[in-house]
Symmetry: D2
Subunit: 345 residues, 4 copies
């Protein structure tokens, strides 16, 4: 059994990591750190885990965590992750970082969208943890930068078309809607039940920090600079992201032809499901799973394609993908611990 | 008191008409027809109305309804409306039709998207009932074609920019999400609570019947043919549409400059609210009201503008706008019966 | 126009007061105080009110508020209300207090369930503001203690049976479920969307502070001491309380006989609706209204009666009832400003 | 691998059986029958299963199903189950019936609450499949009558107190609230999203068919006839039942003493979790699992105890318990296929 720690274990992505790791046959949890709940049994923070996990939250002490663990998941806000990751790497740990700190290859880009970077020397080592695009590099990575939730859906949703020149790179518009777990467990007025329920809004239009991440990966696929217009929305459900990508087609085509492009591009991928013609993704169908479901529709009237991608933002959009990355880095079968069927009803 | 009838009164738009009309100081309900509930007291169909309305549902008999009423709202599915509207007009009634039957000016367009038209001679008389664009014609109309819910939000959301040449007409993409009342009260599997709850999906991508309606009105505004890509989504809430429109700007500009364009365009409009810079619409804020709230954001990085428009699909998107149209046609103050503050919590 | 102030105007009950008062034809809002948002335009706190209300939040200064107003609603947490109410009364204002501070007639009882009482001399002047039971005293009251949300539903739901000896006083069990607005707008982890959604729980079983309030009023009705078992539950909706009361019948009877008891007891009451036999209340049907809908069922097999009462916790359970009390105290028609039809869909 | 069939596989309990069986390491699905979807691939009925299950729905032909299968789950409406179960037993199959047809031991009782019984000779063979009470009989059963959802929660919630005389049998009141999956997947107006959302109501008060089932099992525990008042409620969530039981205590006691009674009674039970003092169950914490979480509170003021039990109505309340029963009947470890951690966020 490989010993794994979760730093920042009581937020929603931390808790989801715990949920998934408890069902993973080849790991055992060695430490769960929490600033807010240090000392408290984890199953008092999340009573759903009574009888499943007997372990208390502990303060975040890097040396101590490192001593107990081979793999460390850092589920911290940005800037806090880069404060502890360098030491974890020095101590030889495999790190899967769920923050944004190591996702962008260029220090300047990070600093333009986030904050000064205190460990820029690691940016070149970090691998962007989207296995469908970077599996080989992840195998040998010491630090995997786990992708953001929105970028995971957007990039997977349009990658085959960009890569193969079916769409004009400058024309890409990403429209996403997310459930409320995406906002985390912090005490924001905007996350109160009565502020969200029966409501719907866009936020951070044109300025959400997941934008450069999409552009970095789409530019790699296009082998040209891609800029996207990205609009995230908040909708009243707990889990799920549905991303609708609009792009101008470079030539006439059909749903079936493009779906075949997707099927080939993602052939053998265990977590990408290309839906049959006429079937479109629904976030319900991936709830609790690591799947990304993809459908599309050619709008011949306007020469555009509309692609739809659905993920569970806490699983493929965060903790499930982190476990997938760990599996790859450790040489485990990639689907280990991630085989659950969706709780689709 | 003007006597008004609702044909098709027990669906959701019919019931919303009843709710609004009960609070209107200058009308009284003279007939409520219903195929499904004929003979049943209306407050047994909707017990919320106990003590508010003592009237039974009656079968739809045009002559009889006409005899009792001066104004008739037809809240029927398409094709059923055009079967009874001609006779109502012959009998001198003012008709506000909530179906799609009289929204498109060209018979061929209607038939391409819907079905054969049996009363095409009325298409030229019918006025598209979006008061913000066609108020003068509505004043003297005998038949008002009440707009669809999605088009109301999309057209209002982008009209000033199209009219004044700020956006490239061919670049318009309309992304909408609607609550479930938009699907009506019919017994569809897809409308069951457990099929909708915690789910989110797109549907009828590129082929929704509200598309030609948007294009007709946007083309009028552009004085050129406009084609839009339109993607509706279904989200788990009862009321509300949020429409996000993407368009390429024809020149550099700022949020403030464009908001000023909107403020001028909609000056004096009682039901359009242009939000301050940095504030974006939320469907909660218009719930139960006839408002259309509009916000926008210039995405200078990509040269696009993103406009957001929120309405209550049952009010400004259907029954409230129908009452607004009736007010105009009868020469009443336009806001009569529509002054309620949103049930915003 | 009577000038009215709301002290503590930005919580949910304060905001609901504002919503209702804006539609009241004989009052105008003269001051809105807020600790958290002092200085901010009220329509920035609640953008739903844009164009409806141009007024900024102000700090709570009793003398100043009193100078501007004839009626003052205090929508403050308990203990904070009793700190300012005495001065408001001295200055001759009519006060409707939405806190618990003046609901219990006995100082000792208040102190056992809440905290030391700093204005006990006012307890005998305060009238418990349930108009269906205390209308005459409210007419001449200077201080109305607006009832709690759960007690309003429980007392109205069972009052006729207690008063007329149909049920054994010691047998009363009150089981309630409330929407989340009942918890207010404070930043509690338990009020976050993702903690409430798809969840359901009981809380404060046997120890909720609304218990003594129910017992006080039920004892008055029974002319004997009544003790109730009270269990509140939290369910995932924004507005609404459904209270199910269980009690042992003192003699055999039928649904129809008991419903007739209710009809007579509440005859002429504008806001209590006794449902027909076989129809049971649903919180949807009272949403946004001041109604209390009541239904019941005799369980002959066990000799019990089950009564059901539904209210909107923010309206009849708080702000609507407060306006009803103001109407009575000022000699206005009791339903003024409270005539809206439910937003039942 | 044991071959198992699901008769009536496309309703919600059928689909949940499929979901659970797909994760069970020692069974394989041999037939899925469906009246509505016969011939259609199962993953078109439930697209969440794409890539998980390649099998089409087939018509229900008993001989054929029996030929392919060792165990048959019948997930049919009552009366339909008893039409096919006798033949399945004749053919030597182990049957777990999820309908009500074999739950009541007495034909007369069944017929009083349901309909004429066409296979009364099997009632004495059938074992009521609540493993915590009848595990030994289930081991050798050929036909297990899987309990109803409400009774599972009510009986487990109060069994220790009844068995050991802590409560007066005649005083038991069962108040339950259920999510909407409990109503099944049929096209009822009352199950539409917009009829359920933001609503809450009681239904079938004092006459729900799960009542005799509770009474049968509670009477066995009490060794005396027990009659209960039972009130089910419908609340807006998909999964989960919370049952609140009220009963008069026969002597003074404390939370801790009674919790210890529960801990001993359920010692070693894999799916019953007794919560610590002060912690009360929430349906979120059992979502997707076979757990029944139990908490309680002594109300010393009134001499009553209030017990709370939470289950997932589709799992411990139906399909999970059915698999638990199969595991017992086949001699498998009882938790096989049922180890998932709750999807608690």
């Amino acid at each position: 059994m490989v010993k794994v720690a979760v730093i920042g274990s009581t937020g929603y992505t931390g808790a989801e990591l715990v949920r998934i790791l408890l069902g993973h046959p080849r790991v055992e949890i060695s430490a769960l750190t929490s600033e807010s709940y240090s000392g408290l049994p984890y199953d008092r923070v999340y009573p759903a885990l009574q009888g499943r996990l007997e372990r208390s939250c502990e303060p975040m002490e890097v040396e101590d965590v490192a001593k107990k663990s081979e793999v460390v998941f850092t589920a911290l806000p940005h800037t806090k992750a880069m404060a502890c990751v360098p030491r974890l790497l020095e101590l030889g740990k495999v790190v899967v970082d769920l923050s944004a700190d190591f996702r962008l290859r260029e220090k300047e880009l990070y600093e333009a969208w986030y904050a000064p970077h205190t460990a820029p020397e690691l940016l070149s080592q970090a691998v962007y943890g989207l296995p469908e695009l970077h599996r080989e590099e992840i195998r040998s990575a010491r630090i995997v930068a786990n992708p953001g939730c929105y970028p995971t859906s957007a990039i997977l949703g349009v990658a085959p078309l960009i890569r193969q020149g079916w769409v004009a790179p400058h024309s890409i518009i990403v429209n996403s809607a997310s459930g409320v777990t995406g906002a985390g467990r912090s005490l924001d007025l905007g996350s109160l039940y009565c502020e969200v329920n029966e409501g719907m809004k866009a936020y951070k239009v044109g300025e959400h920090r997941h934008t450069p991440e999409m552009e970095q990966e789409m530019s790699l696929l296009a082998r040209a600079e891609v800029r996207v217009t990205f609009t995230p929305h908040l909708v009243p459900l707990s889990r799920g992201i549905l991303t609708t990508v609009y792009a101008d087609l470079t030539k006439g085509t059909s749903d079936e032809e493009l779906l075949e492009v997707y099927r080939r591009f993602y052939e053998g991928e265990p977590f990408v499901r290309i839906l049959p013609p006429g079937v479109l993704p629904n976030v319900r169908n991936v709830r609790g799973t690591n799947f990304c479901d993809i459908g599309l529709k050619v709008d011949s009237r306007t020469g555009r394609v509309v692609t739809l991608a659905a993920i569970d933002n806490l699983v493929k959009g965060a903790s499930g993908q982190a476990v997938q990355n760990m599996n790859i880095a450790l040489g485990f079968p990639e689907t280990l611990g991630l085989e659950a069927t969706a709780l689709f009803i």
